[in-house]
Subunit: 580 residues, 2 copies
């Protein structure tokens, strides 16, 4: 290999110093996670695709790294073709039946003809589009679905796509000598094939027969596994799979890498660690109280003072939506409100009006435009504002419980603040929402976040399991600590003392000494080769090794402090204590 | 999702107890790695395919997990087809030129006709087969390449495969409307296509035009990344990539998971940890001495006594091969000799003769059939046996240095033994070879291994870097410790004390107390809900929490030891000391 080797974009090598610093942060997290009763679990790096796909929305699905089936997929092309053929055969078989049923139904109702033409306008509702039909979303991703004209464009594309699939399938069939089979003659040669596939796809997408996902025919045949995308879904899967072995409430922490096929950029990687603590199976708000304390404990021990733990509650947000009479505009509202600092009250109001929020609504939520004061004052304002919303008031009570108790128990170094614009994880959180901001003056996004989701494990068939958890952003915490110079000097794993190598005659005595030092847990080594003394000294310097033993003579060691230049002659006992 | 979720075969979830036990082992390894001057690095979970492919032999390539390109490969089928077409086009273009050149050359020499027929027997040498031509090895994997008859069988298979590729390519071309293009008409319609491809493949494989790897056309288009297969190749890549930042000799350790698409079975997983310590850039044999001490130090602290560290040297094996006059029969010889315990001297000799090792050779190596005694005695025997082999004698000297120094420095709990049948990593090790056997009586294969390879980084363009290293088998060490009951009781991360929950009025006082205990690093928690007392007690019991605080009254705590049933009333200070 001629060119210098490299690593995939978005991934990183970690040098000894970096690993040591990362492990320092992780060790502190572990200690506090465990003090708080959280227990470690680990899950496999890859999960069955079924476990992950469809759990993170369309964008998430796209960003999941898929793994090719078994190591030797490409060596078994023929086997693959056989499998594909069987699958296609199966689909054609099933769908022909379904198609016949549909046609029969239509005939009975005196409706005939090409399914497309008659049904599209009836069934082509926004609802169908939104219901996450994989294939359909694919084609509509970049199109605004508004006008009848647009719908026609989509249908055209859709149709083209079908024809392409037909061609691909046909060609696969040919490549497997399928053109000599009976089925091929039946459906392909008499020209009913295009029509058949067209109708299959139509019946699948427009009749909601989602158990047959035509465009996913090939994918599962060559990829059935995918790399972990976050720690929450694998945790939910773990809880359901091991429910009989687990005592609930179950407090677990997990520190493992996740992978996302995101476009790499500064501070965004394709492989990065998540550090999560979650409890599942309890609705007690004491968990939220504890999680705030846990954030505080970790950041305090890291020496990172001035962190702000922002809290909000999904029920507050829902309450606001209720009050402004537009639940569907909640996100627009929150996004706009979040810009208050930047564009001022008038700017925010202008944006809200543009998004279709009414003048009356703005009057009602006027207090939010001047939402300052202590947490108690903010809660008081909210309980007036949301008095007409049952859900909103429930949110207020939850916030009050959490904030009051956190305040009475006291935090070491962090500050808790109520931020009604905090809308992180709006799609899944149902109660508390957390986000941690780095100390003021450090240009860094959030360094942690979390919240409560009432139905954590429902997706895997275990309903009504409430979960609440927080996550620490290891990479960003690392950057903040580095920027503020908060890593202790002792964090590196560097060797404490190096013995010069004067050749084989003295080496044995050196190794004997080193052996004794190591038993005393003093990191020590001998320069392995009898190189020039200068070179050996430089090596120690560059490695950051603070002490060098220059000579051993009559049981006395000439110990040089490389930094100060100081040099002493000591016996073993003094050597050992000096280095300890 | 109706069915209970599961994880991919060959992968594992780790429960809290399992994670704690694994971390206990890892922490001990880390401590000793660092005491010995090894520094941690970490590399990405996936590497560029180029970095890994071709480094582990044909079988290894097959077992590497490949990752599909970018998250949305399957959403871009048309784009993919375009790329494929371009690539094919390119190959056809290049190869047509090459083909023309070949034909011209032949015409000039008055040779015409189908390339296969005339060239095969000339060029079909063992050399070509062995030179790791991916495609060719694939087809010959299960065939012994001996007779002319066999060669014909291979050619037949080879030809069939070409025809299959021709079909697949044709069908792809059709699927992309390529059948309407000029090139298609030129080459496909006038029936020259099959011949063309055939000739392309012939020219590629028989003319050694390896820059065009026809059978790998599709793979790189959909997969350019692969999961780490071991830690050695990524380490070599790391060293070359970061050579300017590294001080050599570079002692690094690395504890990370690796993935292999192996058939899962008892004790063999598709995801497992490797724990490696290597030093690169020094040929000093003191490294080997240290690595033996390092094994001993780790196993001693794990309480695992009676481990045998087996050592051998590649040069000894080469020397034996030289002495028996059959370097190509080295593996047969070693495999047979390794059966001495099971089938006895006569059995071994019979097998060796069958493998083509001569009677005279057996006479020469007779001492190996009674190869017992101390290491010193074994070395003495070897230096007689190998006196005529320069390389063999070099191996003897290396072994002597390592074993003498290990013996003089002394091991804590392990035993060093010389085992001439040890042939681990015969393909890459060039000096010392190590393998660690679990204590007698424990049915477990090797729990560690390693060796020296003179040219670790040559594959990445940095020649003459000698490396030596060892690996610890985390999973097997875990099983051995578990079987022998060697995990300390304190290893689990379980909570030390749980406070009963009597409802909101008392909860605050409980949380205040817990807060103070946690500051003192005492793992403590409150049962989060005011459930029935019975349920709360059972929860503590099942979680293995040893202490429960039943009541707080006037600053006194009623503390119950769940195991002994003993119950005391204590103040906070006594509570804290009792739990410490």
């Amino acid at each position: 290999m001629a060119s210098k080797p490299s690593i995939p974009k978005g991934t990183r090598d970690f040098s000894p110093v970096e690993v040591s610093k990362r492990n320092y942060i992780i060790a502190i997290m572990r200690t506090h996670f465990e003090n708080y009763g959280y227990q470690p679990i680990e899950t496999p790096s890859f999960e069955n695709s079924d476990t992950l796909m469809g759990k993170y929305g369309e964008e998430g699905d796209r960003l999941i790294f898929k793994i090719l089936n078994s190591g030797d997929f490409f060596d078994e092309k023929l086997e693959f073709n056989k499998k594909l053929l069987l699958k296609l055969n199966n689909i054609i078989g099933q769908s022909t039946k379904e198609l016949l049923r549909l046609f029969t139904e239509k005939l009975e109702k005196n409706q005939t003809g090409f399914l497309f033409k008659n049904e599209i306008d009836e069934n082509f509702t926004k609802d169908i589009i939104e219901k996450n039909i994989y294939y359909f979303e694919l084609k509509t991703r970049n199109l605004k679905l508004v006008s009848v004209e647009d719908k026609k464009i989509i249908l055209k594309l859709f149709n083209d796509e079908i024809l392409t699939y037909v061609k691909i399938i046909k060609s696969f069939l040919v490549s497997y000598d399928f053109d000599k089979s009976n089925l091929y003659n039946e459906v392909v040669e008499n020209n009913s094939f295009e029509r058949l596939i067209n109708d299959i796809v139509t019946s699948i997408f427009y009749k909601n027969q989602r158990n047959i996902k035509f465009p996913n025919v090939i994918a599962p045949l060559i990829s059935e596994k995918a790399l972990r995308y976050d720690l929450t879904v694998p945790f939910a899967r773990y809880v359901v799979q091991h429910q009989s072995e687990i005592e609930f409430p179950f407090k677990r922490y997990q520190i493992q890498p996740v992978w996302r096929a995101d476009r790499p950029q500064k501070g965004r990687f394709r492989e990065f660690y998540q550090c999560d603590a979650d409890v599942v199976g309890s609705t007690s708000l004491w968990q939220e109280v504890e999680l705030v304390q846990l954030y505080d404990a970790v950041f305090a021990e890291l020496g990172l003072h001035g962190v702000t733990i922002k809290i909000n509650n999904r029920k507050i947000l829902s309450g606001i939506a209720e009050v402004i009479g537009a639940s569907d505009k909640l996100i627009d509202f929150t996004v706009a409100l979040d810009k208050l600092d930047k564009i001022g009250e008038e700017g925010v109001k202008k944006e809200m009006l543009e998004k279709g929020i009414s003048e009356e609504a703005l009057v009602k939520v006027q207090p939010l435009f001047n939402f300052t004061g202590t947490i108690q004052e903010k809660i008081a304002k909210l309980s007036v504002l949301l008095s007409s919303s049952e859900e909103g008031m429930k949110g207020v009570e939850e916030l009050r419980f959490i904030c009051d108790n956190v305040s009475k128990l006291g935090l070491q170094k962090a500050t808790l603040d109520l931020d009604v614009t905090l809308a992180r994880g709006l799609n899944y959180y149902t109660g508390a929402i957390f986000e941690v901001a780095a100390p003021e003056g450090v240009a860094m996004g959030s360094i942690g976040g979390g919240g409560r989701y009432d139905d954590l494990t429902g997706i895997f068939g275990l309903p009504n399991m409430s979960g609440v958890g927080i996550s620490f952003g290891l990479d960003r915490i690392y950057l903040v600590l580095d920027e503020l110079g908060l890593f202790p000097e002792t964090v590196t794993t560097a060797t404490k003392v190096m013995f010069l190598n004067f050749g084989e005659t003295q080496s044995f005595e050196v190794m004997q000494t080193i052996q004794k030092l190591r038993v005393a847990n003093i990191k020590s080594e001998m320069y392995p080769d009898a190189a020039k003394i200068d070179k050996q000294f430089k090596y120690a310097e560059r490695r950051g090794i603070p002490f060098v033993v220059k000579e051993i003579s009559n049981g006395l060691f000439t110990l040089k402090n490389i930094i100060s230049g100081e040099q002493v002659q000591v016996d073993f006992s003094t050597l050992s204590t000096t280095l300890k």
